[in-house]
């Protein structure tokens, strides 16, 4: 789950990290008032679940409330990589002496958690990784013992931080690690972590992604969800236990299993089509799940044809067929449909569908070929 900068900052602060605290605003008037309150030059930052907001014009500095108001007018409503700006964070502008990148993430290869630091703070870290990977320093934390103080200090020495500032940096590194662990995060980032005017460390940007699997033990995080940032159908799908990701194509997919879903999308593409979504109905593929999945897929007005691809493993093909028929009782289908149904009792299942006038195909390739043709015809 993605959360906003101001939300991540609040979590970081609760772990003792010095942050550049600001005020969240939803209108230029609020921005002007916030700037007035802060009584100094401010930085206005778009709050969207996306990187690259600086380049997109989502971050502006203003000297006074009026300048802040007009700057924010240019930020509100901006489209940053598909995310519309509804909120901004107004924070005091600070005098930056040096900028560091600091990030904690799940490290699949190490089967653990890695903390990374780079002296190229304030820059997108992918750029540093691509152009100067030697500038990124890493420490893998022991999953059972956590990040050792010596590792946090070692990062500081690797970055060439002067001795008087080493302990302060190490403290922030450990606090960020603790925030990551205690929040069940999959990413926690401060970019930049800056040495500011008075020589102290301050987090000037905060980013955090929460592991969805850990949310059950952080009930308080539910309120961090921003409905404006999520596709309505994705929220609806999650509530039904369906994995759904909206894409830009015109062929809706209803599949059981994530791997098979991806393979189905790949097959559609292979035959020259464009999938409208990734959709995994989950285990069981029950009648109600399939009905819900169809509903979600059909709510996308770009969809011109639908491919249902079910491999009946434990679930029997006749059950799936009955489920589909039930679903069609409540859903009025106005686009062509291709059904592929294989696995346990596939024969019985196909017969049931045939009686209802729904033809099924044998192979995934055939199904993909047909649905692509149907979508083109409908276009």
């Amino acid at each position: 789950m993605n959360i906003h900068e101001y939300q991540a900052a609040k979590i970081f602060a609760s772990h003792g990290i010095p942050i550049n605290a600001g005020i969240v605003c939803t209108s230029p008037d609020e921005v002007a008032k916030a700037a007035q309150e802060l009584g100094q030059a401010v930085v206005i930052k778009a709050q969207v679940h996306s990187g690259g907001r600086g380049k997109a014009g989502g971050v502006k500095v203003a000297r006074d409330p009026e300048q802040a108001r007009s700057a924010s007018e240019q930020i509100f409503g901006l489209d940053i990589r598909g995310h519309i700006v509804h909120k901004v964070l107004v924070a005091p502008a600070v005098d930056i002496k040096r900028e560091i990148y600091l990030g904690v993430t799940i490290d699949r290869a190490a089967r653990g958690v890695t903390i990374m630091a780079s002296s190229e703070g304030g820059v997108e870290i992918e750029e540093v990784a691509a152009t100067a990977p030697e500038k990124i320093h890493r420490e893998v934390a022991d999953p059972l013992l956590g990040l050792h103080p010596y590792q946090a200090r070692r990062l500081a020495f690797d970055l060439g931080i002067e001795p008087p500032l080493v302990n302060g940096f190490a403290r922030v590194a450990q606090q960020l690690y603790t925030a990551f662990i205690q929040s069940d995060a999959s990413l926690a980032e401060i970019n930049p972590l800056a040495i500011v005017g008075d020589g102290s460390w301050q987090a000037l940007d905060s980013k955090m992604v929460i592991d969805n699997n850990g949310l059950y033990r952080h009930k308080d995080f539910e309120e961090l969800r921003d409905p404006e940032e999520e596709v309505a159908t994705e929220i609806e799908a999650r509530a039904s236990g369906i994995s759904f990701v909206k894409l830009d194509g015109d062929i809706g997919c209803v599949v059981n299993g994530a791997g098979l879903s991806m393979a189905t999308m790949d097959a559609i593409k292979l035959y020259g089509g464009e999938p409208a979504n990734f959709l995994d109905v989950g285990g069981g593929a029950s009648a109600s799940q399939v009905a819900k999945a169809l509903e979600i897929v059909l709510s996308d007005k770009n969809v011109r044809a639908i491919l249902i691809n079910i491999f009946g493993g434990i679930t029997r093909g006749d059950e799936v067929a009955h489920g589909l028929l039930e679903a069609f009782n409540t859903i009025k289908l106005e686009v062509p449909l291709v059904v592929r149904l294989v696995g346990t009792n596939q024969k019985e299942g196909r017969e049931i569908l045939a009686e209802a006038g729904i033809t099924t195909v044998d192979t995934m390739n055939e199904a993909a070929e047909r649905v692509v043709a149907a979508a083109k015809q409908a276009a």
Partner: protein, 290 residues
Amino acid sequence: MSILVNSETRLIVQGITGREGSFHTGQMVEYGTKVVGGVTPGGAGKEVHGVPVFNTVRDAVAATRANTSIIYVPAPFAPDAIYEAVDAGIPLVICITENIPTLEMTKVYQHVKQSSSRLIGPNCPGLITPGEAKVGIMPGFINKPGGPVGLVSRSGTLTYEVVNALTEAGLGQTTAVGIGGDPIIGTSFVDVLELFQNDAATEAIVMIGEIGGTDEEVAAQYIAEHVTKPVVGFIAGRTAPPGKQMGHAGAIISGGRGTAAEKMTALTAAGVQVADRPAQVAELMAAVLN
């Protein structure tokens, strides 16, 4: 021959009285798997599909000499179930449970690594040695016993798809292993490839990967260096949009790797024949074995 499970497998089911555990115990018993016991705290004395239930894994092992355990308990309790099985000294532990928090798995992984047990999963469909033992949730009827193909996969239904295609092409399987799709899993491609390489009955190997992580790349390197048997591969997710799952740092950790194209290139470079579609796996395998 086969790997990991066979007719000598003596299985206990943790969470046997739950909905999933009870249903799949029935399926496994029906297939012929030797399910010798089940564990549900407070369930001692009950029976599920004729299988006796115990309060603790320790009790179950003492009474049944179980050598394998399969876990069907909900995510919040699954790590504890894994610890219980591993600490009881069970050599092979399979965890079907999905949605376990990744940070819990980093701890579990570390503990299992330092034990003498092997963990498969979590979030995996289990494994099957056709005709001998079905351990997990894979549909047993699609398999064909006797080999010569060993299969290892990160995916569930996609595996069934490929197994089905192999069987329809007349190619039997030694063992099919679903290692699970989570970021942190107990047994990796490399572990299973090593087992297949050392299994006399396995003449060729199918490996089914997915986008994300670098396990396929690591496997490709292992294949190039250690696997002499022919390998046919498939990678799902060639059209998946990037960046939908992991943020900045995740992408960096994997050194920019993790896409289907990169995985396919790595596998091809290692001498693996990579199929375009699942069904093609069977075609390539048939050609390889002739």
